[in-house]
Homo-oligomer: 183 residues x 2
DNA sequence: GGCCTTTCTGCAACTGGTTGCATAAACCCG
DNA sequence: CGGGTTTATGCAACCAGTTGCAGAAAGGCC
């Protein structure tokens, strides 16, 4: 639902082609909104049909790149959407379903899954902290920089939460196993 | 993706009909996995075809209720699934896209949206804390209770995070406005 | 008993996102 | 310069979840 607007934002930051967008989605915006290249191409086509973006003159490069830039109508639409009040999507986490399943069908191998999750969250947290140190440790705090920092902080907070939660969950599951005499 | 297993879990806790499941999803499991009644009916049908659940003899009540119970194959499948290692779904949050949009197109009405979100998260947090006080303040900590508590704690942690983040975000956005002379 | 409402079940169509595959241009290397 | 590789674009089918609507059985009301 926010893909078109994420694309408009990225293209406003800097006009570029589909594949470049895919690359930039993997970083920055992609921390909170992922998109495959197929989604991106499909959506770019639609945005062009809507008159929100236009293709720029094709420049040389690998393959046949088509860069896009945002038209005034697109910028206007982005402003409209950003100012709207939206219902937040409720949380949805498979791990919680699995924990409840564990509660009914007794001990399973769930701990291993949580351990691997823990590692992933720790990695991501380390990455975010590194970015924070590199990009936000010093320099003038403009509005834009502050907002980008805010988004990164959300990432840091969320990953910290999951690291904490995984540790706590492992604690509960392992203590249970120990209590049952499984060393 | 976890809907079938969420249903199996719920049906193992207590066999019941589609509409009852919908009601129970609104509470408990529904804090982390939502499903509409259409999804539930469709899925129950599929689970029956797979031989994981069976319909019980129809009992009286509103409409024509069909209660289901889990068969051994279903329990086995749930165990298998719970023990599997899954990739966690990456975070996806529209608000972050909107904050980045704000960063590019200058001040918008985004604060209002965040304020309404803040209220929602506070409400949910209060609800979760109330449930915690009611259900987990005392009593023997069995494995099942501990796991249910753990899931609830995840909810509390997440809602706390969002309350904190909304406050922080409002701080940034409002400070910016003030700096621009808009009182 | 007839009628309106509520509860429960379900179909059909749609949407956003994913997967698998195809094609074309540039580039790289022997 | 010709064949393999990489990069860029895209189609088609699919899957999970959502929306809108409809019919059937039970309950309540007059």
């Amino acid at each position: 639902m926010s893909l078109p607007h994420a694309l408009l934002t990225a293209l406003l930051e800097r006009p570029c082609s589909g594949s470049e967008l895919a690359g930039r989605f993997d970083r920055s915006i992609g921390f909170f909104w992922q998109a495959t290249h197929q989604q991106i191409y499909r959506e770019l086509k639609r945005l062009e049909e809507l008159g929100w973006i236009t293709a720029l003159a094709p420049e040389a490069g690998r393959g046949r790149k088509r860069a896009y830039e945002v038209r005034p109508a697109g910028r206007e639409e982005l402003r409209r959407w950003t100012g709207e009040v939206h219902e937040p999507k409720p949380l949805r986490d498979e791990l919680m379903v699995r924990l409840r399943a564990e509660a009914v069908i007794g001990p399973t191998d769930l701990v291993r899954d949580i351990e691997s999750r823990l590692a992933l969250h720790q990695d991501k947290l380390a990455l975010y902290r590194e970015i924070e140190g590199r990009d936000f440790a010093e320099g003038v705090p403009t509005r834009q920089r502050e907002l980008h920092h805010l988004v990164l902080q959300a990432g840091i907070m969320a990953e910290t939460l999951w690291v904490d939660f995984c540790r706590k969950a492992i604690g509960v599951l392992v203590a249970d196993d120990a209590a049952k005499g499984k060393p």
